[in-house]
Symmetry: C2
Subunit: 158 residues, 2 copies
């Protein structure tokens, strides 16, 4: 009996944790949106979906449109349109893909690098202020568990 009860309590805990976490992740995503929109007049590439392409290219250096699309779960026509806007603004450049004549390799220009660095610095400043007063242990714990959650979410196939 006791182990049955314990397992039931565990399940109830799990359901309340799942609900709480799903709501918490929505609120977090909303809070993160506000960082990139910011208070001052913000260039469009920092408010819209172009933001994702820019930061992704910063992390990965150079990618094909098809790789960007699958990594961001955006359809390729949307990626192409956004890349065109970023290219027009001088933030990304296209080079021929030596392995595929129809494809192009996309990377940040020097100006693009500078803009992404500014966007990331702004996010880091906000995160630094949000962490004010936290113990080292709590900061380490959050980082460890967030990384683990991302691995779990990304390995999910359903």
């Amino acid at each position: 009996m006791q182990s049955g009860n314990e397992s039931k309590v565990y399940e109830e805990d799990l359901e309340s944790h799942v609900k709480h976490l799903e709501k918490g992740l929505f609120q977090l995503a909303r809070s993160l949106r506000k960082i990139r929109v910011g208070g001052e007049a913000t260039p469009t590439y920092a408010t819209g979906a172009g933001f994702w392409e820019l930061v992704l290219l910063k992390h990965r250096h150079s990618m094909r449109s098809s790789e960007i699309a699958s990594s961001l779960a955006i359809d390729i026509s949307t990626v192409s349109r956004q890349i065109k806007v970023l290219e027009h603004a001088g933030l990304v450049k296209k080079e021929p893909d030596s392995n595929d004549a129809r494809a192009a390799i996309i990377s940040l220009t020097k100006k693009g690098e500078e803009i992404v660095d500014q966007l990331i610095k702004k996010r880091e400043d906000t995160v630094r202020r949000a962490l004010e007063g936290w113990s080292v242990e709590d900061r380490e714990c959050l980082i460890r568990l967030l990384d683990r959650l991302v691995v779990g979410l990304d390995s999910d196939e359903n």
Copy 2:
């Protein structure tokens, strides 16, 4: 001397934590995007920005366009356009605001409620799978620290 050194180590820790967390939050936001896009053919209101309005209305029941815009940090013309799409799809309804003849109160229809419940259930299922094998302590710790981070981010004024 020693306390000076200790404080320097603490500062270096903080900077590495801030950088790690900023990157982790980007990856998390990307993973969360994939949940709502999903594998099967997804209706547009679940992939685009309409998703935010739907979930927000679920949490808050009824809101003015201006309240939705400030809560999501989206400009009001974009909110109005998205609300029109959701209204056309029968997911939200507008009612006159008795306090302001020019404004309208927006809320979910029964169909809208059902769609949001499905979207949230899908996210909860993904979160539940991602939490598989976690101890109760780790789950509680993540929830507590995420909530605290959201409070810190939302109270930030810069």
